[in-house]
Each structure stands twice: as structure tokens, then as C-alpha cells.
Amino acid sequence: MKLKSLKLHPFAGIRKKEIQFEGGLHVFLGPNEAGKSTVFHAILNTLLTTTSLTTNKVESEMGRFFPASGGDVIRVELELTDDDQNTVRIEKIWKKGNRQGSASLHLPDGTEITNEEEVQKRIEEILPVSPATMKTILLADQSGLHHTIREMEREDHVRKELGDLLRQNLMETGGVSVDRFRELLDQRYEEYFKRWDREQEYPEKNRGISNPYKVGTGKILDAYYKKEQLRLDLEEAQRFEDELDRLNEELSELISRQKEKKEEFDKLEPLKKGISQRQVLEQKLETAKEKKTRLFEISQKWPVMENQIKELEPKKKKEQEKVGKLQEAQKKAQSKQRAEQLAAKVKKLEELAEKVKEAKKEVEDAQKIDAEDIQKLRRLRTEISNLKSKIEGSRLTLRIESESDQIIGFSEAGKTEEELETKAGKQVEKTASGGFTLFIDGVKVDVFSGEGDLEEVVKNVSEKEKELKSHFEKLEVDSLESAESLAELYRQKKQALDQAENLCKSELGDEDVESMKQELENLGDLDKVRDFEIINQELVDAQTELRSLSKDAEAAHEQLAEWKKTFNTVEEVIDEVGDISRSIKDLTAEIGELPKLPERFDSAEQFIDKVESLDREIRGLEKEISDKKLEKATLEGDVPDTSSEELQKMVEEAESDFERIHHEGETLANVRERTLSLLESMDANTYSSLEKSFLNWLHQIVGDRFETIEMDVDLPSTFKTNDGRPLTYDLLSHGTKDTVALAWRFALTEHFLQDQSGFIILDDPMVDMDPDRRKMASKAIEEFAKKQQVLVMTCHPEYGKQLNKGALFEI
């Protein structure tokens, strides 16, 4: 679609104006911020802005286009026409206030649409590209010109539209929508592989059959679960069958054991009663036999016993007599002992009497000095000694020096006189006690010591000594010591006599010797009597023998008494033996008729035990069998409804299904992978035509300034100058940026519009270019306008002149 006409009445600063468009280049010359932008905005808003705006939106989006001179309405009529001259007319009226505007669309067939929403929808359908792309590429205003590339970076939508467009060129040639194909692949892939881990070839997250996903599973997983479940079912069925086999085997084993036991039991059990009877009768027989033996013995012993009693009596009597005699002899032997004792005692007494007699004589013969005498003598001597001590205590020393030789008498007090010879010039010294007497030439000189009664004392000593002497004479001794010695001798002898007399007395006791002698004489001659000990031993033997005989007799009597009590007579015993013999015979016969104990049994007890244990075992087995049957019934309660053989087939089928589905899935996955990698590699070529076109336009404007341009997918990124310097877009000069932007927009517009006819509005595209570039740019614009309608807005008249191949509009 190209622009055919535009009518403003009013719009912004224009009260009323109508512009008719041709194909190719149109130059709009007018002052900045005046007419040239008005035309641009009128076209843009008519195409892209709805008239159904809220009060606020009217103000913010359209407010600046209401006439400054006043009025609350703006109107635009725009006609578009295609190559076949089909014309579409759009009328839009914006009014201030809430949704006051209106729009209408006149289609080539004459229909008119006034529903605003529908009008806008239809307009956008007519546009060759989306509104965003319109704004960014085809209808970029002045400020947007050299920002084209930057804007594109921001506008994802535009880039996507461009990409889709370019890709479509490449791929939809086969009438196949790549996107739909990819969607289909994804959908199928999901159908197969949902929750399936392809790498592990196992359910995702290891959720095998024991913990399966219930929902959202893919075909492969479904097939996998199905085969696994069947495999489990098969295992279960096999386990069941094996278990049943086992139970059946155990059961039949138990039953056959029971049968065996029953057979044996049935064979033995009927014998049980007979054998048990036999046991009782055999017991009886045994007892009877024992009794018979015992009675037979009694019958034999009975007469023997009676005879024994008879023989025992005389023996007993004889023995009793013997005991009597021995007892008598024992008495005599006792008298003999008495006599011997008496004789010995008498003899001892006579010897003691003789010793007394001898001691008496000794005493009589000894000098009789008794203790009293000695006492008297000692007292006297003591008195004398005391007195003498008194005298001794008054000792005097006499020294005589004579002038000539003389004889002087001297006597110590109480003592006899002695003669002292003195020599001239020599000293004689004498000591005396108590006093002394000197007889010198007849002169008697008595010298006394102390009190002067020493003389009395001396006299007393003499008297006492005389008395002592007379005692000595009287006792026929010469000294006290000899007197004492004699006194001791006398005392000893007297003591010996006393001892002898005491001995004699004690031996005699109360008896007297004479009566003893008399008794001895009475006992007579006992020499021939035997010893007591021998007799005693004989007596003990005889008494023992007697006791033994008595005991035998007593036992025999008792036995007989008992027998008599039991059997009365020996004849009756014999009768009883006969009875028992008959009974033994009967029993033996009876036993003979009973069943015999089978050989393998040692006793009836063993046999009966066996029968009873068989019975118990049979009942035990019965219980086991019933338990086993119950176990089997329980197992069979869970019987799988399909046999393992049938399940085996199902497993195989499910496995092959799984293999097939898995193979299909893998095939699909391969197709998908191939598709994705193919698309990726094709994508790499998507932008090559754009790149080519861009370079072409750039060359037209700047010549060979750039050697190569690198694309970052869909945007030019690096510009390499012919001197080898790589420059990013930002590093380019303003003028260069403008040229690059212009070339880029031409390339893009070419791609967006492709075969369709369309228009592009350029707002002062050459402002920052140097004159040479401007010239070349003008040529490029003119070149581009050969294919598409181009509206150039400018406020520079000279630029307008340069674009002299187009219609000029001054606004």
C-alpha cells in the first residue's frame, strides 16, 4: 500500500490542507517544528492511534495536535492504494473528552466500517508490518533516525518480526511451516518421552515399577510400565505356582506318612486288647508261681521248725545250769580276793607298829633340850651382850709415860688384872671400856667413864654370866650353839615318831588288827579256788550261748505261731499249694489263647506304647495336614487368574511392544535432533541477505569506506574501515552514524516490504552529513524511491533542492 492522499482539517497548525501523493520521492520543506512534522504525525496517528481515547489519553497522546487557535476537534483523512489501484480511505476524528472521537474505513469494495475497534484492526491488517516495526523502521521521526540501530536493540518485537520474516523466506518454500513442524515434533516427542530418561533408558528419577508415575506418562514409559508390570505378574505367578508345588509336595508327603502310620496302626491296634490282657494274666501267673514256691517252702519248713524247738529246750537247760555253777564259783573267787587283801594289810600294820616303837626309843635316848631351854639361854646371852655393849661404849685410852722402868697393874673394868711393863722414856698405850683400874705401887686407881654406875653394869654382867654358865652345866652343854644343835636333834626324833604313829593310824583306819586276823582265820584255806577273771569269762560265754538259744527258740515259736495263725496246720498249707498249682495251670491255658507279642517288641508295654504313639502321630499328622491344607487354601485365595505360561507370552509381547515403541521414540528423537540442528545451521544464514542488502546501501552512500561489517546475528556490530580499523557503531561520527542508519533502514525496509509496495518517511536524513556524503545519500534516496514511496521531511531548502527528482511540497 502506498499513500494516495492526505487531508487535514484541522490538524496541529494546519487548518485545512489536502496533499495528493504520487509514487516515488516526495520532499516536504518547512520550518522545523512546523509543517513537516505535522504531516508525519498526521500519517502516523491515522494509521496507528485509535480515536477511542479516554479524556487523559486524548490530552497526552493527541493534545499537541489540537489547533493552538482553539477548537476541540482534529480530523484526518488518509487514502492508501495498492498497485492495482484498490483504494482504502481512513477517516479519523479525535475530540476532547472521554472517547468522543470516531473513525471510519472505506474498503475498495465500497463497504464502510465505523466500529472503532474493527477499524483499527483492519488498518493493522493492511499494514505490511506490525505497528512497532512501522514506528521503529518505516515511520521513524527525525529524532529516531540515527537511533535506528539502538532502537532495534531494544525492540524485541521488531527483531523477532524481522527474523521470522527472513526465516520464512528461506523455509516456507515447501509449503511447510517450520514452526508448526517443530511444534509437532515437540508434541510427539513429549508424547513418547514424557517422564522417560533417555540417557538412563529408565523412568525419570528412578521411578521404576515399584514407584510408578500415575499420570503424565509418555508412550515409552507406559509400554515400559506395562511390560514391567507383566514381568512382575509373571514372577508372582511363578512364585505362586512354585509355592503351590511345594505345598502340594509337603502335603502329599504328610498324607503318605499318615497313610503309612495308619496302616501300621490298623495292623497293631486289634492286638492291643489281647496283649494288654496277656500282660495282666502273665502278671497273675507270675504272682501265683511265686506264691506256690513260698507255700511249698513253708510246708517243708513247718515240721523242721517244730523239731528244732524240741531240740532247743534241753540245750537251754544245760546252759542255764552251767551259768549257775559259774556264778557260785565266782562268789568263792571273790572271798579269795578278800583274804589276800586282809593278809597284806595286817602285814603292813605290823611293820608300821615296829617303826613306831623304834622312834619312841630314839626320843627316849636323846638329850632332852627343848625350845623353852634354848629361849632362856638366848635371852641371857642377849642381856649379857647388851650389857657388854654398854661397857664397850665408854672406851678409854690410857697413855703412860714413866720415868723409870716399872711394873704397873692394870685391869679393865670387870676383867682380870694384868701387868704392864714400862720403860723409861717410853710410852705405853692401853685402851679400856667403861673404866679400868691401875695398880701403881699400890695405889689403886679406878677410872670410870660417863655416869658412874658402870660398875653396876659390870657386876650385872658377871652375875648373868654365872647364871648362863650354870644353865650350860645343867644342860650338859658348853655353849648356846651346842645347846641349839641338841635341841634340833631332839625335835627331829620326836617328829619321826609322830609320823610313824600317824602312818600306822591311817593304815588301820576304823579297823583293828585283831578282828582282821580273826576274819582271815575265818575265811579258811582258799588256795584251790580258780581265778575270778577266768570264771567271769566263762560265765559271759555261757550267758551268750543261753541268750542265743532262747532267741532261736523264741523265733521258731513266733514263726510257728504265725503259720498257725495263717494256715492253722501244715496240712492246710499243703492243700493251698495244690489249689495254686491248679490255678497256674488255668492261667497258662488262658494266656496260650491270647495273641502273642510281635517279635520286634520286647514287652507288652513297648507294644502298647507303640500303638498309642502311632495313634498320637496319626492325630498329629492329621493336624499338620489340616494346617497345610489351610495354608494352601490361603495361598489359593490369591491365585493369579492367568497361568505363568500365558503370562510368559504376554510378557514377550509387551517386551516387543516396548522395543517397538522405544524404537519409534528414538527414531522420532533423531528426527527432532536433526531438525533442530538443521534449523540452527539454517538460522545462521537467515540474516545473510539482510547483511548483503545493508552493505549494498552503505556502499552507495559512503563508497568503499568500510571493508567489512560484522553482524551480531541481526544487527551490525563492528565496522571495519578500509585501513583495517574495527569500529563499533558508537565510535562512528554523527555523520557516519546517519549514513549507516539510512543504509540500515533501506535494507530493513526492503526486507520488511519485500514484494509489496509501501512507503517510508525519512525526517531530515542528511543533517549531519558532509556535502559529498549528502550528495551520495541523495542519490541513494532517489534510487530507493524508484521502488518504494519515500517521504523526506526537511527544514533545509538546499537539501530539498538536492533531492530534485521528487515532488516538492512547501508547508
Binding site: 528461506l170 497361568s643 536433526r674
Partner: protein, 367 residues
């Protein structure tokens, strides 16, 4: 002289779970076949009807199912029916299956539950039967060991009925289906072996000296069963010589078919083949392969339901049937350099599955 109608492995109670469409028909067919077999035995004036094991597929049969079976068997008009428990319907001391069976069975129906010889003179027949019943599903030992030891009256005909695998005849890799060897059977001093277990007929062509016979199932039970259901009719004369007739007894077939479709006539022939009535009672596993021109392939897709409609149940595997996708064709349909052309051309010779799938997917989105 008398005749023995010999069958085995009917497997009443098979569930056919992997045949959802035919299941009900197949399950019921086995009971119908039993009725037909008894009728056939009566028509042939057989004196003995011998069922050599696996009359039932499992021991856990429903009472009504057992009754249905016994009532059919009770209709046998000959002298005696000999029913041997096989490894699927094995007998135990407390077997509810066989207790119920015996309760319902007529006077001349004998369940051979013991390894004890049975003299049939009471049934007016000069025969002593040596049964080898199964007492479990699996056993590594067979049940015929005792037969050889038995004293045998040369005047009588000695017939052993046994069930289990025969080495070299039936697959039993684990040796747990009462395995027997031909030698063992031949050495047992028996005049005739009425066998069961193996689902194929053996010998396929009985010779004069053969004494071991395994009829196979009388009603096909799966794709492994290639025959139409078999029974033997043995005729024994006074000299103990045996005449054998193989009877076809089954109603339904399991057919495995492989077809290659490359041309129009292949498709036409295949479709014609299935117009035959016999396929109405067949479960068919059809594997189709080949390369068809796209329009023929479309035709196949359109018409293949005709096969399905003419069989009891169809398991169709036509994954290996392909459109002929050639480079030429790709170029014809898609312009060079276009995405579909590039994609389809990228698959190598051994990526045929991928090529097919990619092609089909592209067709799905092609406008």
C-alpha cells in the same frame, strides 16, 4: 478290536488376555470344542475316550466351568473315559478340581489319579492302563518309572497314559515338566503310549511301528500352534497292531503371516486372501513390509481395515511397510534448499526409519 479316541491339552480356562478382541470367543471355543470332540468320538464309535492331561488350564477352575466340562464328557457313549491329570490340572490329595470333577462324573468316567494299573476288563475291554498322573505343576522327575517294573500279562494290551515333555520333541529346557525320553518309553514294556503335554502333533505322520503318540492340542491356543487342532483315533486289533487316524478338531486358528507389499498387485492379493471365510475364525498376526509409492501407501492406509474386518482379531505390524521416499521424490515435492528438502535429504541410507518418520511428520503439517 477297539478304538481309542485320544486327546490332550485342551486347556479349558485359558484366558487369552493378550487377545482382547477375540478373548471371549476363544475362551468359549474350547468348551465348544470339547463337546465337538465327544460327539466326534461317539460318531467314530470309540470304546475309549482318553484325555492325556491338561484338560484344564489350571486347578483353580470355577465350579460351573468344571460342570460344563464334565457334562460334555459324560455324553461319551463308549465303554470308558480315562482322564489323566496333567501338569496344569495336576491332582493332589485335597484337589477341589478333581473332587468336583468326580462328583459330577458319570460311572464310566475314571480319573486316573494313582500310579496303579487299572484293568479295563470290567469295562469289557482287554486292556490294562498304566496311568502317570501329575501331582504338581512342575517336576524334574517323570511319573512313569514304575511302569517298567509291573508284571504284564502278555495276553492283555498294555496302555500307558502319561503327561510331560519328551526329549527332542517338546521344549523343556529346565527339565521341569516331568521329562521323559523316547528310549525310556520304548523300554517300559507297554504296547501303546497315550501322551500329552506337547502342543504339536507327534509323530506328524505315524508309522506302523510307532507306539508313542502325542496328539497336540485339539483347539489351537496361540501362534505357536501351527495345526488346526488335532485328535488321534487309535484302533487296536487282537494282534496289538495299531492303526492311527489323525482328526482335525479345532475351530479357530492362529495365523502368523508375513507379506511384502511393493506393488498394487501385492496389496490386491493380500486383500483378496483375506476375503476367504476361514479368516473369520482366525487370529492373525500380520507383518507387512515393503516399499510403496506414496499413493499406494495411502491406499494401504485406507484399505488395511479390510483385513481387520475379515478376521477374528488382527495384530498388524506394518512398521516395516514404507513409502518409497527417494531423492527424486523429495526434489519433486520440495524446492531445493527449502527446509523439508534439506531435512529429508540429510538422512543417510541406514536412517530409513528416521526418513519415513520425518516424511510423515512433514506431510502432517504441509498445507
Amino acid at each position: 478290536m477297539y478304538k481309542i479316541f485320544h486327546i490332550a491339552d485342551l486347556h479349558l480356562g485359558l484366558r487369552f488376555q493378550n487377545h482382547p478382541e477375540a478373548q471371549e470367543t476363544l475362551v468359549q471355543a474350547r468348551y465348544e470344542t470339547l463337546e465337538k470332540l465327544v460327539k466326534l468320538a461317539n460318531d467314530k464309535d470309540a470304546e475309549i475316550l482318553a484325555i492325556a492331561g491338561d484338560l484344564f488350564d489350571k486347578t483353580s477352575m470355577k465350579v460351573s466351568e468344571i460342570q460344563q466340562a464334565v457334562h460334555a464328557i459324560n455324553r461319551f457313549e463308549g465303554n470308558v473315559v480315562l482322564v489323566l491329570p496333567g501338569n496344569h490340572d495336576y491332582i493332589t490329595a485335597d484337589s477341589q478340581l478333581w473332587d468336583r470333577f468326580n462328583k459330577e462324573a458319570g460311572e464310566n468316567v475314571l480319573v486316573l489319579d494313582e500310579k496303579e494299573s487299572v484293568d479295563l476288563s470290567g469295562y469289557g475291554l482287554n486292556a490294562v492302563i498304566y496311568p502317570a498322573p501329575c501331582h504338581a505343576k512342575h517336576s524334574t522327575e517323570n511319573a512313569i518309572g514304575w511302569v517298567k517294573e509291573e508284571q504284564k500279562d502278555l495276553e492283555k494290551v498294555h496302555i500307558c497314559i502319561a503327561h510331560g515333555s519328551i526329549e527332542g520333541v517338546s521344549p523343556d529346557f529346565d527339565q521341569h515338566y516331568f521329562p521323559m525320553t523316547v528310549r525310556e518309553l520304548q523300554d517300559a514294556g507297554v504296547d501303546l503310549w497315550l501322551m500329552g503335554h506337547t502342543h504339536i502333533t507327534w509323530p506328524e505322520k505315524p508309522g506302523e511301528k510307532d507306539i508313542i503318540f502325542n496328539p497336540g492340542t485339539p483347539e489351537p491356543d496361540g501362534f505357536d500352534c501351527r495345526h488346526a487342532g488335532r485328535a488321534f483315533l487309535h484302533t487296536i486289533d487282537e494282534k496289538k497292531s495299531i492303526q492311527v487316524e489323525i482328526l482335525r478338531t479345532g475351530s479357530y486358528r492362529f495365523e502368523r503371516m508375513e507379506q511384502t507389499l511393493n506393488h498394487q498387485k501385492d496389496i490386491d492379493n493380500l486383500l483378496d486372501e483375506f476375503q476367504k471365510d476361514e479368516y473369520l475364525k482366525s487370529v492373525v498376526k500380520l507383518s507387512v513390509s515393503g516399499r510403496l509409492e506414496p499413493e499406494l501407501y495411502e491406499q494401504w492406509l485406507e484399505k488395511r481395515h479390510q483385513v481387520r474386518d475379515s478376521v477374528l482379531e488382527l495384530k498388524l505390524d506394518d512398521a516395516n511397510l514404507r513409502r518409497k521416499v527417494t531423492e527424486e521424490q523429495i526434489r519433486k515435492e520440495f524446492s531445493e534448499g527449502s527446509f523439508p528438502e534439506q531435512l529429508l535429504s540429510s538422512f543417510s541410507g541406514n536412517e530409513e526409519d528416521e526418513l519415513q518418520m520425518a516424511y510423515e511428520l512433514i506431510l502432517e503439517v504441509k498445507e
